[in-house]
Each structure stands twice: as structure tokens, then as C-alpha cells.
Symmetry: C2
Subunit: 473 residues, 2 copies
């Protein structure tokens, strides 16, 4: 093809794309989105809500007093917003408690010890009241166990020390490449006769905080379950180096965690009933439970207050949604996902058609965009909205996962999405003592809520592709 | 035009764009950029350099001992990198010192005082040794002075309290909308007989840190110069509210800052001499001086160590630049810009042709992209590189400013660019006591250095548009 003709054709196409562009970036949408951001940044409430959740209530592990206080507080706050309905959805949740603060040391010679920072993994059994003390074997992952075999592992503590890969840009991808050690490390090591497990904290930074998180013994009988703890990255490196000098050093740890019978808790739900489609639902949520070490500000107090803020912003700018829009604060994402499952079960039971679900569970950092679990047609519609987000530096629209709590809603038609904030600092705080309110920046948190509200607004106005609603221009 | 024809034309154009795309995203470029990021994230040195600059040396105000130590330290570190040349470029800089810690209070009734957090603005004169005490008049900006006139201002302290606009997405834009109060507030208020000036800190957050920064008296005679200080945002709000109750309250502040004769300092420069075009220059830099309250980690220790890292990365991945690539650590950006001017003067004097200059002076936060001060042809070339940056979530490529230090190089041909990190937290720390090393995240800092190196690599390989170099495929 010759060059002038190419240029003409390109010019034509550009003109066509531009007309498509101006169709999508219609002024009403631009203005509504501007209003949402202005309201969030100038008169936001999410930061104050998070302050209360974090500093007045604190870590909200399922089954704890704090979790129940958080249920009561967020329901009361939703009650103040003038929504059409606010209610609690009962759900039975597991109850695991950490007990006394864990204690651990490395003994390089009899009586010569160095204390190290550990914490029990969520769901771990306790050690005996005297603790566990044994030689330690360092591995780079579960796959190494087979190589060492029972003869080298039996009677020892297995130390999983594969670090997160620092050269991955997405820290979630780096986390995904390591977390099997934490989740299944004890279950697997027990098969080789290990007496305990120490896992390098899922943290890209060198520091002294051990990071907890869920683990599973699978179907292993209770008596074969071995205690498991996480060790801070600094101490993991110390331990590894010490083993280089002294392979027969001893490791000691003591923890007194305990599993109780399931207890009743709640998902907290608020709804603005749809003006056109009251029986079609779009939801936005986060999880109200958190680990117990910090106050759960980033994981996932931030997602909860941002989700509450979405509905508050709609009320404040006098937007009347066409569909029923719900905020759902899920209980028990961290160690059971009972809230997410319960919500989906009830929705199915009541034949509530869910068109769109958005979760924020990746920290209250500067929002970059969204990932989508949906089909090509719905994704194409989302891509056509990108220009509307450009003034807010929201650029990331990719296919991928959404959020754990909304996953059970997946049925082939509902569009699932997850807010994707900047991920660089997330694992510095994730599941650790320093997941605290001071690590959340007010503006970053508010930008996330406004970004979520904008996406919910667009889905509400234009519908999802299988159920698109004609819009008056 | 009918629809099928449109579709055919669009398909054609898409095919053409895709071929252009695959041309630009050639594998060699992708791989080189991947190498740069891997090296920065797995074996970066910028964080350690910054640790030393911040924690071993500290705030580096022009003319201070710390500034001289920073010159010596960074030269020594550049000497270790195996560059072709490392040298110091002498430059005379102003010397202003803060003196004793400032003290201020609000007196609502005789003897009833509340201490507030202030700091002298950079370049301000001292108060008398007894301090200044006067009634205060709150204004929203310089333009209000005329309205109040001499009769309401004379003998009083003017309190500039216009806040940064929180609903602007770019905090730099919000800063730009306020900083005239700090820069020219004293000069203007003196014309109406004011005896001092208090300026609300340029900070979007509510906290207790006063933020310093440069100010000017213009050509005003020395005896007419009035002292000026910044007040923390929390205390600015307190003062404003107190004035609501008690319009005739008194404000007291005392500061002992002093201006000395200019002293000699240096720009620190390192160079990898170009293999093809040794006499054509591309530079990357930040400013080595900082304000004195914090340790200047974000402003602009980060930019210095990222710039040093660019050259280190090139050496580490064995990249041989075609042009001469320089790192320039400019002295005296904060209160004089003497280093930037000196560098440009000497470049002109020596007829050194500069093709490209990149500055990092917006904090060590997650990089989002670059702004460019250049023509359409060069900007179009940059835009064609966007796909290469996508895996690293670098998405912001816009026309706009570059950096203060490289500004004097502007001659209509050199392409000027500024790194644009996420700006949300920048002004929480800017020019304040909490601009410290702990506020910098290692990964965010390293991502910035790798992103800068990638852009310098592309400009080096493909040249700038007026001087494009044919590249062997």
C-alpha cells in the first residue's frame, strides 16, 4: 500500500475513533465522575471511618469481640446514610485465637541463644506448653521435601525460606509465587515427620515484622498436625546465615493458639434500591474481618470504608441508581471465606440477579485501575470508558482476578472486578503488626473510593453487556 | 461512509499500527529494559546511597557543611563506578542559615498563649532578638492585600491561609496554585506596612510540620524587608479559628536566620563517554542540595541516587552508550538554581551539544511516567515507545514541564523531561522535618531509577528527532 493512501485511511479511521471517543466521553459522564472525585476529596468520610475501625476497634479477626464491634459500628454508620435498606446477614465463622505472644529463639550452642521475631500462622495448632525445640532444615519450597526425604526431615523443624521475587513489578504476583509455603508447608512437612514449620514472611522488605496468614492442614488427622509460624525477613536471613555456620543449631518456638467451635457473625449490607431495575443487583465490597496483629487498616479496612463511601457519594451527589446498588462488608475473608460464600448462597436462593460485583482488597494505596473477570463484550465496554478515567490517572484495565469475597458469585454472567491500587508497599504491611492507620494516606484512600464509585456509576448507567439498558442521550 | 467499508478501513489501519507497534517493541529493546529493571530491583544501589546521604549526612542546604560532605561522598561513589570521567564543577552559591529553632505563639489574652509550629522561610530575614508581636490579619492571597489596604494592614502580621486545593489530582498543580503566597507574600505585604508574614504550609495533610521553602524580597531595600515564616496546617487552622473568636489576638514569632556572602560549592558530574557521538550529550540528574529541616530524602536525595543509578545500571548490564551520558548532581536548586545555571553556561561556552536532559525532582515514589518539554516530532517518538513501558505500569507521557535544574539548557533543540512519580504523598514531606529516609520505599525508589534508565537508553539508541541516528536492526 502506498504511503499517501495509508495516511488518508489512517486519518479516516482516526476521525471515526474520535467520534466514538466523544460519544463515550459524553459530558454528563465526565461531570458526574468529576463530582464523585470532588466530593470524595473535599468532603470524604472514608478516612474518618477507617480511623474509627483501626484506632477505636482494631484488628478484627473472625469470631473476636473486635469483629463484632466492627459489625455494629459499620451497620450504625450505614444506617446514617439514608440508604433504602441496611441489614446484617448471619453467617457462622471459624474462631481461632492466637493466645499469648509467641516466643522463639535460635540456639547456636547450649545456652547461647538469639531471640527472633515469629508469629503463629492463622489456623496453626499450638506447640506443647514447653514449646518445640529441634534441629532445623532449610528448604526453598515444598518440592524440596521429597529430595531430602524422611531420613533428613524426621524430628526436625522445616524452614521454608524462598523469598518473594523482587524483580516482579506486581507484588501480588511475587506473593502468589511464595504463598504455597505458608498455606500448605506444615501439611506437607508433617508427611515427612517434621515437628514444626517456620516460614519466611511474605514481605519484600527487610524488617522485623513477622507476617501471619492462613494455612491449612487439609484432611490430616488432628494428632498429626504440627505447629507453624512465620519469621520476619531479617530473622529469616539471620537464621539462614547461622545455619551456614552451624548446620546443627537448634530452633525453639512456643505458641498457644487455639481453635474453638464456629460462632455466629454477620455480613453487613446496605442497599440503594434501583429506580428502574430494583431486582437487579450491583455490589461493591471489602472484608470487615482482618488479622489480629495490626489493626487491619490496609487489609481490608480500606476496602470496607471505600465501599461504604461509594454509596455515600451517590447519595451526596444525588445520583439515583437504576439498579439496586449494595455495599457488602464480608466477614471472614482471611480464614474461611464464609461471608463471601454465604452471600452468594443467599443470592442464589433468593434468585437475586447480580450483574456486577466490585471488590477492594488490595490496600488503600493510590488507585491505578481495575482487573476484570468477565467476557470480551463486557471488557470491551470497560475499555471504551478508559478516556473518562484518564484525568484521574486511572490507566490499568486488564483481564485477571477480582476479589476473594465476590468470587463465589461467579456464574458466567456477572461481571467481577477488583480495584487495583499501586502494589509496591502492600506487602510491607500485609498481615503484620504494622498494618496500621498511619500507613494509610487520606488522599490515596479517597481516590480509591472515587474511582470505584465512577466504575459503579458507569455500569449502573450502561448496564452489563448481556443486560444492557438503553440510555437516554 | 457505510459500515462494512469503515470496518475494512479500520482493520487495515489496525494492521498498520500493529506493524508499527511490533517495529518499536523490538525484542532487543524489551530485553534491555527488562535487564535494567531486573538489575535495579535485584541488585540496586540507590537505596544504600540514599541511606548514607540521608542518615549519615542529612539535610544539605547550599553552603552548609552537609552540602560539602554530600559533594565529596557522591563524587567518591561515582569514582567507584568505572565511568570515563568524574569531576566537580565549581559554582558560587548563596548561604543562608536558619539559626536557632524558631518559636511562635498565639496570645488570645495577656499571658494566655498557645505555642504553634513555625519555621522561617528560606531567605527570610530574622526578627529582632526580641521577636515580633502584633495583631494578625488573615488573607486568602496576595490579591486580598489591596482590598484591606494600608489602614488595615500597617503594623500587623499578614497571615496567608489559602490552602492547596484538595480536589486537584496532581498535587503539584495544587502547590502551584498556592506557592505565590510563600514566594512573594512578604515582599507584597511589606508594601502595605506589614511587620511580618505567616504562611500556611504548602501541605495537603493536616499535621504539625511547618514547611519551609524559598521566598524573595525582589529588589526591596534591606531595611524594608520583613520576616516571614510558615505555620503547620493544624496550627494554621487553629489560628484561623482563634481569629474568628478573637480578631484582635496577638501573634508572636522569633527567628534568627542570617544571610552570608556567597560561598563556593560544586555540581558533581560523572560521564560515560559516547562510543559513536562523544561530543553529543544526554544528561540525567537531580539536585544535591536540600532544605535543612529534614534530611532531604525525597527532595531530592531520591533524584540524585536514581540518576547515579542510571549510569551504574548501564555499566552493570554492559550497555555502551552511543552518546556521552552524564549524571549531573546540581547544587542549589532550592534557593538559587545556581548549579543548573552554571551547568548550562559552561555547556554553552564549551559548545557541548545537549540532545536530551532528564531530571528526577518529584520524590522517590512509584514512577508513573514522564512529562516532556519538546516539539511534536520528539514527542511522537516518545509516544511510540509507550508499549515498551507498559509491563512496568509506566503510562504517563504528557507534554509539560521538566525540571528546574535542566531548564537553563532549553534552547529549542534539547529534549527536556521530568520523571513523574505518584504525587499524592509528596507534599506531606516536602521541605519539612519529615522528609526523611523512612518515608522512602526501596522498591518505589528503584523502579524510578530503572524507568529513567530505560528512557535514557531509548533516547541514546534512537537519538532525538532533529539528530536521529540510524539504528542497525
Amino acid at each position: 500500500m502506498n504511503k499517501p493512501l495509508t495516511l488518508v485511511l489512517c486519518a479516516l479511521c482516526m476521525a471515526l475513533s474520535l467520534s466514538a471517543f466523544s460519544q463515550k466521553v459524553n459530558e454528563a459522564d465526565s461531570l458526574t465522575i468529576r463530582n464523585l472525585y470532588d466530593m470524595a476529596l473535599l468532603n470524604g468520610q472514608s478516612y474518618d471511618w477507617l480511623d474509627h475501625l483501626s484506632n477505636e476497634i482494631g484488628g478484627r479477626l473472625s469470631g473476636s469481640l473486635e469483629a463484632e464491634r466492627a459489625v455494629q459500628y459499620t451497620k450504625e454508620e450505614l444506617d446514617k446514610l439514608g440508604l433504602d435498606r441496611v441489614w446484617l446477614q448471619p453467617v457462622m465463622v471459624p474462631k481461632w485465637t492466637r493466645g499469648f505472644k509467641e516466643y522463639a529463639y535460635v540456639e547456636t550452642a547450649p545456652g547461647i541463644t538469639k531471640t527472633v521475631n515469629v508469629c503463629a500462622l492463622g489456623g496453626s495448632v499450638a506447640t506443647s506448653s514447653l514449646g518445640v525445640k529441634a534441629e532445623i532444615i532449610e528448604v526453598q519450597g515444598i518440592e524440596d521435601l521429597k529430595e531430602y526425604g524422611k531420613e533428613q526431615i524426621e524430628g526436625k523443624i522445616v524452614f521454608y525460606n524462598r523469598p518473594m521475587e523482587a524483580n516482579l513489578i506486581s507484588t501480588f504476583e511475587a506473593y502468589g509465587g511464595c504463598v504455597d509455603q505458608r498455606y500448605a508447608g506444615a501439611m506437607e512437612a508433617a508427611k515427612y515427620g517434621a515437628v514444626g514449620v517456620v516460614v519466611r514472611s511474605m514481605n519484600l522488605r527487610q524488617d522485623d515484622f513477622p507476617h501471619t496468614g492462613s494455612m491449612s492442614y487439609g484432611e490430616a488427622p488432628v494428632k498429626s498436625r504440627i505447629p507453624a509460624c512465620a519469621i520476619s525477613t531479617n530473622d529469616a536471613d539471620y537464621l539462614s546465615k547461622a545455619l551456614g555456620f552451624k548446620p546443627d543449631l537448634k530452633f525453639y518456638f512456643k505458641q498457644s493458639c487455639k481453635v474453638y467451635n464456629d460462632v455466629q457473625s454477620y455480613n453487613v449490607i446496605g442497599e440503594i434500591t434501583g429506580s428502574v431495575y430494583p431486582n437487579k443487583y450491583m455490589i461493591v465490597g471489602g472484608h470487615l474481618d482482618s488479622w489480629d496483629l495490626g489493626d487491619g487498616s490496609h487489609d481490608d479496612g480500606a476496602g470496607c470504608v471505600q465501599s461504604m463511601e461509594v454509596l455515600r457519594l451517590f447519595k451526596k451527589i444525588n445520583y439515583t441508581p437504576r439498579h439496586s446498588i449494595r455495599v457488602v462488608l464480608f466477614m471472614n475473608e482471611e480464614n474461611g471465606l464464609r461471608g463471601g460464600r454465604k452471600y452468594a448462597e443467599e443470592a442464589k436462593l433468593k434468585q437475586e440477579q447480580h450483574l456486577f460485583a466490585l471488590e477492594s482488597d488490595a490496600g488503600g494505596f493510590t488507585p491505578r485501575g481495575f482487573s476484570f473477570d468477565t467476557d470480551a463484550a463486557n471488557f470491551a465496554q470497560v475499555e471504551s470508558w478508559k478516556p473518562l478515567f484518564k484525568p484521574y490517572l486511572i490507566h490499568y484495565f486488564e483481564k485477571g482476578g477480582s476479589g476473594a469475597d465476590i468470587g463465589p458469585l461467579k456464574d458466567g454472567t456477572v461481571v467481577l472486578s477488583g480495584l487495583r491500587p499501586d502494589s509496591q508497599r502492600y506487602f510491607d504491611h500485609h498481615h503484620a503488626e504494622n498494618d496500621t492507620f498511619d500507613a494509610v494516606n487520606k488522599r490515596e484512600l479517597e481516590l480509591g473510593g472515587a474511582t470505584m464509585a465512577s466504575l459503579v456509576y458507569l455500569f449502573d448507567k450502561y448496564g452489563t453487556k448481556s443486560t444492557a439498558i438503553p440510555v437516554k442521550k
